[in-house]
């Protein structure tokens, strides 16, 4: 049997069947459903672009909270996490292998924690009473007079979500960039210094980044996708969906809220489509910006 397996089909079928069933079909289904009214019991009825109109014109929560929150969250977590990953990788590349490995494992380990389980820990740290670790610390140094409800007060929730997400943002992209830097041909540096590069900053701009551009792009795409994907965190921290005053509401939570709590599946699908388009568009822009400077 194995001796006669020569056709590509043998190799392609398993992966691509699952790919079509669980990636392509759901995306197409989401697009189709987004043009329907569907309450998960009756058969979907076609209603044109009504869902999208409703999303833009009458969904106050979406336009005033969800979209701004998501953009703010992603535009901070994405770029900051990405820059941090690059800088850590670059510094790690300058120290010997053994300490480098140990430190790389430490930096990567937060992204190994299961988000939901970890949220319980954050809730203890940011707990609203005087027993919360952050409150106790601040009270101890007389920085605050009375405990703050970190996770229930709208003004703090999004910031805490950003901090927590940044903590676990050193992921696959970081590993890719570290490997990229380590594999740069050393003679390139020598040549560059002979050609008149003067300092470390120029070295990064003219040698390091151009030589590892493919890894930089990979890391950037991972950062964009990761920052839009993180949705559970606000709900897990505050313990409610919607989050208090919708302060930590992200697109992902909005989809869940409408799809699984209110059974407005068609409407939820239109939000999904918006999210997919948004991530695709921002990834592509990032990609072309990074890929251009040749």
């Amino acid at each position: 049997m194995i001796k006669r397996m020569n056709r590509p089909v043998w190799f392609l079928i398993p992966y691509w069947t699952l790919f079509f069933v669980f990636v392509v079909v759901p995306v197409l289904a989401a697009i189709v459903l987004s043009f329907t009214y569907f309450n998960s019991i009756q058969i979907p009825t076609f209603i044109g672009i009504k869902n999208y109109i409703q999303l833009i014109t009458t969904d106050v929560v979406f336009m005033q909270n969800v979209l701004p929150n998501t953009l703010k969250f992603a535009l901070i977590v994405g770029p900051v996490g990405y820059t941090l990953s690059f800088m850590l990788a670059w510094m790690l590349a300058h120290i010997p292998p053994r300490p480098r490995t140990i430190l790389a494992i430490i930096f990567y380990s937060p992204s190994l924690t299961a988000g939901v389980a970890m949220a319980a820990m954050w809730r203890v740290i940011f707990s609203g009473d005087a027993n919360g670790y952050l409150n106790a610390l601040l009270l101890n140094f007389n920085l605050i007079v009375e405990p703050i409800q970190w996770l229930q007060e709208p003004q703090y929730l999004l910031t805490i979500m950003i901090v927590v997400s940044l903590w676990s943002s050193i992921g696959v992209g970081f590993l890719a960039m570290l490997a990229g830097i380590l594999n740069i041909d050393k003679t390139l540096y020598e040549a560059a210094y002979i050609d008149g590069i003067r300092n470390r900053f120029q070295e990064i701009i003219y040698v390091t980044i151009p030589s590892m551009k493919p890894q930089m792009i990979f890391g950037a795409v991972m950062a964009v996708v990761g920052s839009f994907q993180a949705g559970y965190i606000g709900v897990a921290l505050s313990g409610t969906n919607p989050t208090p005053d919708n302060a930590g509401q992200l697109i992902v939570n909005h989809i869940e809220d409408f799809g699984f709590a209110r059974y407005m599946m068609g409407y939820a699908a239109s939000i999904s489509v918006v999210l997919l388009v948004l991530v695709y568009f921002i990834s592509k822009v990032t990609w072309s910006v990074l890929g251009e400077r040749d």
Binding site: K3, V23, I105, I106, S109, A130, G180, W287
Partner: protein
């Protein structure tokens, strides 16, 4: 003269040094404190997990445990068995699902990656392009259609519902394909002349070479499946078929009471440690795969 000095300075702090020298100190001064900062939450869970009740209740709260006990782990087991489904059942479910899932992810991904890299067929470019677009795909956005598909295909309450939706990982497929690209075609041609089939070549020549990439797929799949709570939430109604991560997250979700904190920490630690241990074992292989991770 001046130029020579510059070059010497450069050689003193080159990338990827073999041993320590003084010029590396500034990097250590930044990296080490930062790593401590990153580790704090993890050190916190470890301490929290081993604190006795009295220390969990203590005011002001103390970061480090002073009299470590296994009380929280014992209590965790007690709470779980009180729920009607024994701990071993959740653990068994998670182990079965994770082991089968990781194996299938490695097999399916590497088969497809080999075909896309080394075989000739129509639509090859299109498929790779599709996979690259899927790198930007956000699975959580299509939960609803996925739920409908799983429900329609009768997979609700089956182990397959834990596995099949999550093992297609475009990132993993991309990494393995890039890795296979590095293998010289001569190896394959030579084997073909000896009469080997594509599948024999894949099994006997390709697999041994791409082991690091397979380890990487394995660890990505492991993290994905072991930590996953969404398949248990969406696709499983039968409590005895749910995964450990899901159950522990329901415990930690209700951990507002101080007494619950210890259990939550113990649960988090149980979930986290296998990820960490596996990564430490496989990190060298992961790094060598990542060298080929570039997007152009």
């Amino acid at each position: 003269m001046k130029k020579k000095k510059k070059i010497n300075k450069f050689f003193g702090q080159k990338i990827n040094p073999e041993r320590f020298n003084k010029t590396q100190l500034p990097f250590f001064f930044i990296l080490v404190p930062f790593s401590v900062l990153m580790l704090l939450p993890i050190i916190f869970i470890v301490n929290q997990a081993f604190k006795p009740q009295s220390e969990l209740f203590a005011y002001p709260p103390r970061f480090f445990v002073s009299q470590p006990t296994f009380d929280n782990f014992v209590e965790l087991l007690r709470v779980i068995s009180a729920s009607g489904v024994p701990f071993s059942r959740y653990l068994f479910n998670s182990l079965v699902v994770t082991i089968i899932g990781v194996f299938l992810a490695i097999l399916f991904t590497s088969l497809a990656a080999y075909a896309l890299s080394k075989m000739k067929f129509k639509g090859k470019k299109l498929l790779f392009e599709l996979n690259t677009i899927a790198l930007m795909f956000v699975p959580i956005a299509v939960q609803i259609p996925r739920y409908i598909i799983v429900a329609q295909s009768g997979l609700i309450d089956s182990y397959a519902a834990h596995i099949l939706p999550v093992i297609t990982m475009p990132v993993a497929m991309f990494l393995v394909k890039q890795f296979v690209d590095q293998i010289p075609n001569d190896y394959i041609e030579a084997a073909k002349i000896d009469g080997a089939s594509e599948m024999q070549i894949f099994i006997h020549i390709i697999i041994p070479i791409i082991k690091p990439a397979l380890a990487t797929v394995g660890i990505l799949a492991f993290q994905m499946i072991w930590n996953d709570t969404s398949t248990s939430t969406l696709f499983i109604n039968d409590e005895s078929k749910r995964a450990l991560a899901f159950f522990l997250s329901t415990l930690t979700g209700s951990a507002n009471t101080v007494a619950g904190q210890g259990i939550a920490a113990a649960a988090s630690l149980i979930l986290f440690l296998p990820n960490l241990i596996l990564f430490i074992i496989l990190q060298r292989k992961v790094m060598s795969t990542m060298a080929y991770s570039g997007l152009k």
